[in-house]
Amino acid sequence: MEKHEALANATHDAAHAAAHHGHHEAHELPNLLAILKEHFPDLPGLDFLLQWQNIFFSALAALLISAVAIRAARRKSLIPDSLRNFVEILMEGIAGFVTGILGEKHAPKHIPFLGTLFFYVLFMNWFGMIPFMKAPTSAWSTTAALGLITVVYVQAVGIREQGFAHYLKHIAGNPSTLVGWLLLPLMFCLNIILEIIAVPFSLSLRLFANISSEDRLLLKFAELNTAFNYMPFVFQIFANCLVILFSVIQAFVFMLLSTVYIALLLPHEHEHPEHDEASAHAH
């Protein structure tokens, strides 16, 4: 009971603290830094960390992933131990999924990027649910950074795989008829907006909106717990289950869309003419 009140108080104080900094109002559970600020307001460096808290927790997520993955990767033996086995299952699952979309030829180059993106986003999402942690993906700055990286990566892949001339032609809407050439300026602008400007916006806003909503959800359910004293943790457990699920879905969607963007910019294979014909008919 006391804990819940403390939680509520801390939330309240964190809201005040945040309001002081002018970043945002309290709409998530208090994290380690906010609690420290409440109890030891004069701790050196704390204000700096609070100001950069998203980066602080991103770095924690990055360290966690790197530590586990590198530790597992170092254990080279014919029969893998449990940690290695676990990491292998995750990596192989991602690799299989990406290969299914990009094909055997192109997938191996992009698996590390897409896989890292997935696990990084996933752990940052989950941090919103872990006590004293904060989900850095509930801030648009974090997701915007990821969206920008993705769009740059995708366009770079497009240029490298198709060649710059083909890439330009693709951006110009592959003009082949007179109408196509007449519409070139329009198509060019449209494709620039669609593929270069809209992509990071859609990726980053989707993730940011979903995860910040999850955080609000967690906060509201925690408040419900304090309101109904006879049902401690029931709401919280329910909310946690939802957050576990939605965090996976959001990380997966981020990776899936990035994979699809890459797939759309890969040169079209002409090895299966009947397949191309079928897809042309479908269009």
Partner: protein, 167 residues
């Protein structure tokens, strides 16, 4: 625009980009590549082992068939040799029988000849004995009395004839 300004902090975006790039390059080099490579190596090793097992199985099958064939061949040969030996035995026994029959025939013939010779010999020696006896008898008769010559001669002649008939 206000939403944009309150939510996007350019410096944070830049640092987040750098953070992700560091994580990405670190993990690509130290985690993804080694793990995926070792997975591929393991996969190819297992595939190779399965293939070699399959090959060994086929080899064993071939060897088995070969052994079965050679075993059958050996059996056939043994049977043929046995049959040959039986035939040879039969032939030899027939030969032995034939030979024995011929030999016994020859022995029989020879014995018959010997018997005939012996009979002839006996007949000759008997004749000689009879002649001697006859001479003895005639001597006796002559010594007794030669009164009635004619009668005596006839008597002697009849005795000789009787003797000849007896032979």
């Amino acid at each position: 625009m206000e939403f944009f300004q309150t939510n996007i902090i350019p410096a944070e975006v830049v640092v987040q980009i750098l953070a992700f790039l560091i994580v990405f390059f670190t993990l690509r080099k130290l985690a993804w590549k080694p793990v995926l490579e070792s997975l591929e190596a393991r996969r190819s090793k297992i595939r190779g082992e399965f293939e070699s097992i399959e090959a060994a199985k086929k080899e064993i099958e071939a060897l088995k068939a070969e052994y079965a064939a050679s075993l059958q061949k050996i059996e056939d040969q043994a049977r043929a040799k046995l049959q040959e030996a039986i035939d040879e035995g039969r032939r030899i026994s027939r030969e032995i029988q034939d030979k024995a029959r011929l030999e016994s025939q020859a022995t029989f013939e020879k014995a018959k000849e010997n018997l005939a010779i012996e009979v002839a010999k006996a007949r000759i020696s008997l004749r000689r004995e009879i002649a001697e006896i006859a001479l003895d008898a005639s001597e006796k008769v002559l010594r007794e009395k030669m009164s009635d010559d004619k009668k005596q001669q006839e008597k002697i002649l009849s005795i000789i004839e009787e003797m000849e008939k007896a032979l």
